[in-house]
């Protein structure tokens, strides 16, 4: 395949490295250093897509991030598919596969295009708000068709195999953009000793200098850039990030950079490398040197392939050695664009004419153009384009000085390329991200960054400064300003010599008039990606959408993947003109992150799959895994849920575990419970303030259960706290509540009661905790512990003792959550597995059975013990839970929760109370979450009495048991309630005490 538009020489491509790629299933050749766009243009490919709404053929318009049309599907394999890759930014590599994202059967001969040209007339902005309403039932059908047409590219169907990561960076100065201004700023600050990061989205530093034929300091621009880059590379305090787009500029000088590390090499990152990296940068100062984008002009059929932005044409010529056509018509409002005509002529192809909208352009470049014999048509504009799949000609006509009327007789010129320039728009995007609004500047006909509280400097094109000497000197000044604000002495940097060009005044023109009114003229596109036309904007304002935000939303202008980089200013200007306002009166334009789109994978970084959220393990985790435990996620912890044996169902395993506990002995890994060591002479007082019950008299060696409420009187955590010494307590919390409880204790201590002498230290991870429960637990423990008198009367229920278990110093707590004789052993976690295994060595004869959280839940429910978080939801007081025994209102200090639970609504009758529920049919287990009603036959909406919070099959009781809430339940013992279920069943249950087993608590006292 020949590259018919490739020049014989020139450009920065490496002609020794030819690469092959495929587009729409056809193979093409390009060179290393090409983008997909430059290679497609070199190969004479005109059409890169079909437009979103009208399905019109579209070609490449620009050469960078602002490209609206050339948005392709990339990827040679299913797992490496990337939707919506901008061809102007994707570097070419051997074997690259891409295709257009729209068009059926192909972009060349698209059937939707026919529909588009007919139906398009019925698709003004907002048409979907006005139709598809009748009949109501048809909307889902209409929508199906709408969704068929939606989207550009597609997501891969297979899992991404690439890795991504995130790196946190800190610097004195972040320079955004490595064009002439950015390079000078970085060089100056770097020489001054600042820690500098300079990032640029392109593969090479240099910005537009890479596409320029200017001389700087007596060298070619490219050589000058190479010298500066070489010096920066030598400075150890400067970090250079090419292929790195600064995408967000957040509060307090926090910036995000998306670095493309391997996308230019191939579909998939080489082994061990990350495909993309996000840099999260905290910078003391920022220099925005992001340059400017050239604005195309808005004229009839300005979307026909072959219509391009003038500077992009120069970029393809100079940087890539590609001339994207044969016969050029250039339309401009300013002097600068004449360079494109000169570049084109230099490439040996024909410049049909330069059409200047100004009546008397007279700068140096115009003279140079005329001197080359190129025809310059002044005071005129291209008002229409001929051709469907490629420009075949243009209609040129004189326009009046007010720029809103065609005055002369239109004439046709034959050409295949139309380059246009309406001036430049500073790339102010980043300056807006943290809330600043750009301000309009009439002199440069564009928005420049507005006032900001960020530590931000700007240099070059972003300020509307476009002459090279000015750009360079602003860069130096920004670098020096940054250095001095950082307290460094700014290095002197000499401004290199550059050619000075005399330029005439540009014209502020956005919308080229046509002989017909806009509503009847050929489509004049403002936002190419979203098919927004000048007529559409006029219609929006006619309908009353006059705020610029309304116009944008109603027409969808600027909502594409290019975020209106080319179109927004033109659109605003057209709006302003229709409303008879100035642009600043019409409003301003706001940009939000991202500057250009970023892969989700890159933002997520390494925090995926097994690293998504930490898995926390106890010291005995390995044993659980080896013994076949199924795990339950409790917060970040992986807790054994149950331990099925081969061939067992879950229920069988639970039945076995439950029975083993009540009949012999079983063991639970309870290490995940939160544990807080509390020391200080006011520890006791503190406990009294944060628990609802009394702590003043708890003796050393004793343990007590406590409830914690918020100031609103609602229970949020519970646990057993033990008195280790007069000034020393060990508090336990729920597994999920540990961190919150500690923070809450610190909050009250540090902010409310700093006078109390107490310190809190988390020891959750320090102690491995195993609960040995069951009638044989004493016997088992005695085999491994000979220094604690485990006797019934010497080591009572709710006592703790220090001793040695399996040779390891331990604290043993005689507390019980199962209602059985039970010992909780705490040892330093380094010994947890050792002790656990020793217990099993000795426990075999007692059929020592490991049990998990599910059995623990069943056993405690048999006893009616609550689980905070399961039987509470933040709306229950201790009284509602039937735990008034755990509330002491005689304490001198008004503990947290006391006042809250005395509020009017908290003391009314008919609150939902926690009760036990026994199904009439003992074999039926109520589903958790079932809702009680008094009369299942009442009409919907029913009066709901409360829900089931815990419900199990109890193998020990050989029946189902449940705990749940019933309005006024404490006073309704023995009444029947009904649970209508989703499957149509209605389960009848009797309200009872939640204590189903051993109501006198004898088993734990044996």
């Amino acid at each position: 395949m020949s590259q018919k538009n490739r020049l014989q020489s020139g450009g920065r491509i490496d002609r020794s490295k030819a690469v092959t790629f495929s587009y729409n299933g056809r193979r093409y050749k390009g060179y290393q250093g090409d983008t997909i766009a430059s290679a497609l243009l070199a190969n004479g490919v005109d059409i890169v897509g079909r437009s979103f709404k009208y399905s019109r053929p579209r070609g490449i318009v620009a050469a960078g991030a602002e490209e609206p049309n050339a948005v392709l599907q990339l990827g040679a394999t299913e797992a490496t598919q990337v939707p919506n890759v901008r061809a102007t930014q994707q570097e070419l590599y051997d074997g690259l596969v891409c295709s257009a994202t729209n068009g059926w059967p192909s972009v060349e001969s698209d059937l939707m295009g026919v529909m588009g040209s007919i139906g398009g007339k019925m698709m003004p902005p907002g048409f979907y708000y006005k139709t598809f309403m009748y009949p109501q039932s048809m909307w889902p059908t209409y929508e199906k068709f709408i969704r068929k047409a939606a989207g550009l590219g597609r997501a891969p169907q297979e899992r991404d195999q690439d890795a991504y990561d995130i790196m946190n960076q800190h610097c004195d100065l972040m320079v955004v953009g490595a064009g002439p201004a950015g390079l000078m700023a970085a060089l100056t600050a770097g020489r001054s000793g600042a820690r500098v990061i300079i990032a640029d989205e392109q593969s090479e530093f240099g910005g537009h200098l890479l596409s320029s034929r200017e001389q700087i300091g007596g060298k070619s621009a490219a050589d000058w850039v190479a010298d500066v880059v070489a010096e920066l590379a030598k400075l150890r305090n400067v970090q250079m990030l090419p292929r790195s787009t600064v995408n967000g500029y957040h509060d307090h000088n926090f910036l995000t950079i998306n670095e493309n590390r391997t996308d230019y090499k191939g579909d998939k990152a080489p082994d061990g490398q990350v495909r993309q990296r996000m840099h999260r940068v905290r910078a003391h100062w920022v220099v925005l040197a992001s340059g400017a984008h050239e604005r195309p002009l808005v004229f009839g059929n300005n979307d026909v392939p072959g219509c391009m932005v003038a500077s992009a044409v120069s970029t393809y010529l100079n940087r890539y050695g590609v001339v994207p056509g044969s016969k050029l018509v250039l339309m401009t409002t300013n002097d600068g664009a004449y360079q494109t005509a000169l570049d084109w002529a230099d490439a040996g192809r024909e410049v049909v004419a330069v059409v200047d909208t100004r009546a008397n352009p007279n700068g140096d470049l115009i003279a140079a153009t005329r001197a080359r014999g190129i025809k310059v048509i002044t005071g005129s504009a291209v008002i229409d384009v001929k051709g469907k799949k490629r420009v075949s000609g243009v209609i040129v006509a004189a326009i009046d000085a007010k720029r809103d009327k065609v005055t002369g007789k239109p004439q046709q010129l034959g050409c295949d390329t139309v380059a246009s320039s309406g001036g430049w728009s500073p790339v102010v995007h980043l300056s807006c991200h943290a809330g600043s609004r750009p301000v309009w500047n009439d002199d440069i006909i564009g928005f420049v960054p507005g006032p900001t509280i960020q530590k931000q400097l700007t240099a070059g094109g972003i300020n509307g400064s476009y002459s090279l000497d000015k750009v360079l000197s602003e860069g130096i000044k920004a670098g020096q300003d940054a250095a001095s604000r950082l307290g460094l002495s700014p290095a002197a940097v000499k401004l290199p010599n550059v050619r000075s060009v005399r330029e005439g005044k540009p014209m502020a023109l956005f919308h080229v008039p046509h002989t017909k009114p806009t509503s009847r003229a050929p489509k004049q596109f403002v936002d190419l990606q979203n098919d927004v036309t000048a007529a559409g904007i006029e219609l929006a304002t006619r309908e009353g959408f006059e705020a610029i935000e309304h116009v944008k939303r109603y027409t969808a202008m600027g909502f594409g993947t290019d975020q209106g980089k080319l179109g927004n200013i033109n659109g605003m200007a057209i709006t302003a003109k229709v409303l008879g306002k100035t642009i600043p009166e019409t409003g301003t334009t706001v940009f939000r992150p991202n500057y250009t789109p970023i892969a989700f994978g890159a933002i997520a970084g390494r925090n995926c799959k097994e690293l998504f959220v930490p898995k926390r393990f106890s010291a005995m985790h390995k044993w659980h895994v080896e013994h076949g435990a199924e795990f339950e996620d409790v917060g970040q912890w992986k807790r054994p849920w149950f331990y099925p044996k081969a061939g067992e169902t879950m229920q069988q395993a639970l039945d076995r575990e439950c029975k083993a506990t009540r009949e012999s002995v079983a063991i639970l890994d309870a290490s995940t419970l939160g544990k807080i060591d509390i020391q200080g002479k006011d520890a006791r007082e503190f406990l009294g303030r944060v628990y609802t019950n009394a702590w003043a008299k708890l003796a050393i060696g004793k343990c007590r259960y406590g409830l914690m409420c918020g100031e609103d009187g609602m229970v949020f955590d519970d646990g057993v706290t033990s008195c280790l010494g007069d000034n020393h307590f060990l508090m336990t919390t729920t597994t999920g509540g540990a961190a919150h409880v500690l923070e809450w204790l610190e909050f009250y201590h540090q902010t409310e009661w700093p006078e109390l002498e107490v310190y809190f230290t988390s020891v959750t991870d320090h102690w491995a905790t195993m609960t040995i429960s069951g009638p044989n637990s004493r016997k088992l423990l005695a085999e491994l512990c000979d220094d604690i008198d485990l006797g019934k009367d010497s080591f009572k229920f709710m006592d703790w003792r220090e001793g040695t278990v399996a040779g390891v110093p331990a604290r043993v707590f005689r507390i019980s959550f199962t209602g059985e004789l039970s010992f909780e052993v705490n040892v330093q976690a380094n010994y947890g597995l050792h002790v656990w295994e020793k217990l099993f060595e000795h426990g075999a004869k007692y059929n020592l059975t490991p049990y998990g959280t599910e059995t623990m839940h069943i056993l405690r429910a048999e006893k009616g013990f609550i689980i905070a978080g399961q039987d509470t939801d933040g709306s229950m007081t201790p009284i509602d839970l039937g735990m008034s025994w755990c509330v002491s209102n005689n304490k001198p200090f008004s503990y947290i929760g006391k006042r809250g639970m005395a509020r009017e609504d908290c003391v009314r009758g008919q609150r939902k109370h926690l009760v036990g529920l026994k199904t009439k049919d003992p074999s039926v287990v109520l589903p958790e979450g079932a809702q009680a009603v008094a009369d299942p036959k009442q009409p919907i909406p029913m009066d709901l009495l409360g829900h089931i919070s815990s419900s199990y099959w109890s193998a020990n009781l050989n029946r189902s048991i449940a705990m749940g809430f019933i309005k006024g339940g404490h006073d309704r013992m023995g009444e029947t309630v009904y649970y209508p279920l989703a499957d149509g069943r209605v389960i009848e249950a009797e309200i009872c005490s939640p204590i189903f087993l051993d109501p006198k608590g004898e088993r734990q006292n044996v």
């Binding site: 097994e610 690293l611 050393i700």
Partner: protein, 221 residues
């Protein structure tokens, strides 16, 4: 039954102090025991940008007290053999004992495991007034990262500025480490110590392997 452990004995004390170290013959397992770092170190490539070593099974004591309490400051200096660092984010080290500043009234003392009990008793004997000592040895471990790319791994893992100008040798900072937390200390020109929590150790281990992959990870025993 040991008399010394009867509750009546404990009752005479304000605080329960406990020698938590097991006798010989009892296997102790560090939080990363299951990773088999010793075995991995034998299989290592010789070269790599990141070197990792677990400084395991050390004694860790959390000290709380007021800098205004002279008895506390003096007592600590006397018993520990070096004064508590009072400048924020600093640490001191002597012999086998290092002390990391955590907050104006909190320090982490790391010392040989077999000294934890004696030191705790020593402190309690030496100090008057309000303070606390908590043995947290079982709950955390220390990972040492070194090598030319250790800094890069830290930059992937924490939001701290680890540039030498901002993080001199000896500096300590408690921070977020990936989705866990760590007390980071620069222990040498090119070495760093992370104090991490036991239950997160496996996560941190997975994280470090992943974050080091591009540089090459060498496990030191």
């Amino acid at each position: 039954m040991s008399e010394t452990l009867a509750p009546e004995k404990v009752a005479t004390e304000n605080v329960a102090v406990m020698n938590q170290l097991a006798g010989r013959g009892v296997r102790a397992e560090s939080p990363l025991y299951h990773a088999g770092l010793d075995k991995l170190s034998a299989l290592n490539p010789r070269a790599g940008g990141v070197l990792l070593r677990e400084l395991k099974l050390l004694g860790h004591l959390t000290l709380r007290g007021s800098q205004k309490n002279a008895s506390f400051m003096n007592g600590c200096a006397e018993v520990l053999g070096l004064a508590l660092p009072t400048l924020p984010l600093t640490s001191v080290e002597k012999g086998g004992v290092s002390i990391r500043w955590i907050s104006p009234d909190e320090w982490l003392v790391v010392l040989p495991a077999d000294q934890a009990y004696e030191v705790e008793r020593g402190l309690r004997a030496a100090i008057e007034g309000h303070f606390s000592v908590v043995n947290v040895s079982g709950g955390q471990t220390i990972l040492e990262l070194s090598g030319p790319n250790a800094c890069d791994v830290l930059k992937k893992s924490t939001v701290l500025d680890v540039h030498p100008s901002q993080f001199p040798v000896g500096k300590v900072a408690g921070t977020v480490f990936a989705k866990s937390t760590a007390l980071v200390r620069r222990s040498g020109e090119a070495s760093w110590e992370l104090v991490i929590r036991r239950s997160f150790a496996d996560y941190v281990w997975l994280w470090l392997q992943d974050a080091s992959r591009e540089y090459g990870l060498v496990i030191k025993s």
